[in-house]
Structure formats: C-alpha cells, structure tokens
Amino acid sequence: MDNLSILSMLIVAGIITFLIRWFPFAVFKLGSDMGSGIRTQGKKLPFSAIAILVIYCLRNINPLVFPYGLPEAISILAVILLHLWKRNNLISIGSGTVIYMILIQQFFP
C-alpha cells in the first residue's frame, strides 16, 4: 500500500464517521421524523456488529492445530470474568492483554 492510498482510507473513514455523528443535527433541522427502521438499526445493529468484530479478531485460530486457540479462550474468559466482577474497561482490557501476551510468549510459544 502506498502512502496516498492509506491516507485516503483515513480521510474516507474520518468523513463518514463525522457524517454519522452529524446525522441528528441534519435530520432535526429539516423537521422530518426518522423511520422506525433506521431507529431500530441504530439501536440493534451495533450489538450484531460488535459480535461479528469479535469473530473477526479470532479469525486466525485453528482449533485443530496446537495451541488449539487455548490462549485466546483463556484470555477471553479472563476478560469476561474480570469485567463482570469489576466492570472497569481498563482493568478488563489491560489484564486480558497481559495474560494473552504471557500465554503466547511463555506457555504456548
């Protein structure tokens, strides 16, 4: 990838992110109402999208070959338990990442 292509990716992502955040200001100025379909998508699609992104992060696991996705499974379990316990993003993400790094560097190299 050349620098210009990468820069255009960032600009496209930036502009669309801005437009998404600007959406209510545009709509309510026109005085029109939003369709219930869009409202539902805005509320529920993120939940599905995040689930798909979790799968995306784990796409390179091969359950048939050592270490069988064990480091990922253990670390995700740690993140879930820590988060249910402390409900603190920093603790959950930080500890989960450190556990994963130790696991793949020391125990499943």
């Binding site: 930036g14 939940f47 599905s48 799968i55 995306y56 920093l90 993400i93």
Partner: protein, 230 residues
C-alpha cells in the same frame, strides 16, 4: 470574569475526564504499538487519531492499511462499526447550537466516552458551555498522546510486543459484554456471533465481515416488520 469561568470549567472537565484519560492513554498505546507492529511509524498513529478519532474503527483500519482494502469497504465498515453514533447527537441538539463556531468540532469528537461524560454533565446541569468543549478536546488530546506514545515505544523500547493486538479483541469483548448487559433482547448479539462464524467458515477469508453485516441488517429489519404486525 469569563477567564475565571473558563479556568474553573477546564478544572472540572479535567477531573471528570480522568477515568477516560487513563483508558484512552492505555488503549491508545496499544493502538500505536499495533500500528508499529504492522510497519507504520508513530506519524500514522497520530494522523489516524487526528482524522478518524473512533477507537474501535481505528483498530479495524490497521489491517486494511497493512493489507489493502477498497475505499468502498472502508466506507461500509465505517458505517457499520460506527452506526451506534447515529443517535448520540440527539442529546446535544440545543447545546451544540448554542456553542456556535465550536459545533463542528463538538460533532466530530462525539466518541462513546465523550458522549457519556457530556450526557452525565448535561443531566446534572449548571455547566458553562466551555466545560463541554474542554471535555471533548481533553479526551481527543489524550487519545492522540496515547497513540503517539505507543508508536514511539515500538520504535524506542525493544521489548517483545507479540500478542499486544489482543487489546483489540479484549476491547470488543468488553463492548459486547456491555451491550449484552444493557440490551433486553440478546438476539442481535447471538445473531452476530452465529452469522460471523457462519460466513467465516464458508468464505475462509477476512472478507466475511461485509456479507455477515448485510445479513444481520436485513434480518433485523425483517424482525422489526414482524414485531410491528403483531
């Protein structure tokens, strides 16, 4: 008088933002390190945090930046990852209008964390307009600082960063748990997991995200129609 009000606002904004600042610096470092791992200097980390400023999307963009993707893929992925931001602005229609020239920047920086801090403050009331601007700019500044530190750490400190990219998996897992706990219907989440896994197994490539998202979106609309009829 106004100088005094502004200084007071900045102080309050900074104190309220401390939990976000800590989180942003930490996750920002992971982001910068991950970009470095993929062969990008800290300048790209700063640029991404300056132009895009949407944490989880920026993580997804790293793999696009490294391996390439069409601008259409970038656009559609941005739409789906950030669609949760579509309605954040509703809370601040009047406030941002009153802020005049600062309005575009306030909209641009409306991240999950900034939204939460400002929504809490607005509910309590009694803050000067400058307070909201300071919350926004403090948050983005520390996100940029974190990204920069991560990028620089990759270049300066030669320690084994293998596995640092799990921060992204952990971030999404945490968001998923939060969605799970706060949603009455767990169906969209379960559907996402099943569709994601299904399309991954069929396509066996990272291109499975878009079809899985389109399928999820269609199914959500169909369910919505059904509920309306009943």
């Amino acid at each position: 008088m106004t100088e005094h009000v502004k200084r007071q606002s900045f102080k309050e904004a900074f104190i309220d933002a401390i939990p976000v600042i800590v989180g942003y610096v930490f996750v920002g470092i992971a982001f910068g390190l991950m970009l470095y791992e993929n062969g990008f200097s800290f300048w790209w980390a700063i640029l991404s945090s300056l132009i895009v400023y949407a944490g989880s999307l920026q993580f997804v963009l790293i793999s696009f930046m490294a391996t390439g993707a069409s601008l259409l893929t970038v656009a559609l992925t941005t739409l789906s990852v950030n669609s949760r931001h579509l309605f954040y602005g509703i809370t601040f229609l009047d406030l941002f209008k009153r802020m005049g020239k600062l309005k575009p920047y306030m909209i641009f920086t409306l991240s999950d964390e900034t939204y939460s801090l400002m929504a809490i403050a607005l509910k309590k009331g009694g803050k000067d307009n400058s307070y909201y601007f300071f919350v926004s700019i403090i948050n983005q500044s520390f996100w940029i600082i974190g990204s920069f530190l991560g990028g620089v750490m990759g270049e300066v400190i030669p320690f084994n960063t293998e596995g640092i990219d799990f921060a992204m998996t952990a971030l999404f897992t945490v968001i998923f748990i939060e969605q799970w706990l706060s949603s009455k219907s767990k169906a969209p989440g379960i559907m996402g997991l099943v569709l994601g896994l299904g399309f991954l197994l069929i396509m066996k490539s990272s291109g499975f995200i878009m079809p899985a998202l389109v399928a999820a979106s269609i199914l959500l609309l169909l369910f919505e129609k059904k509920e309306e009829k009943v």
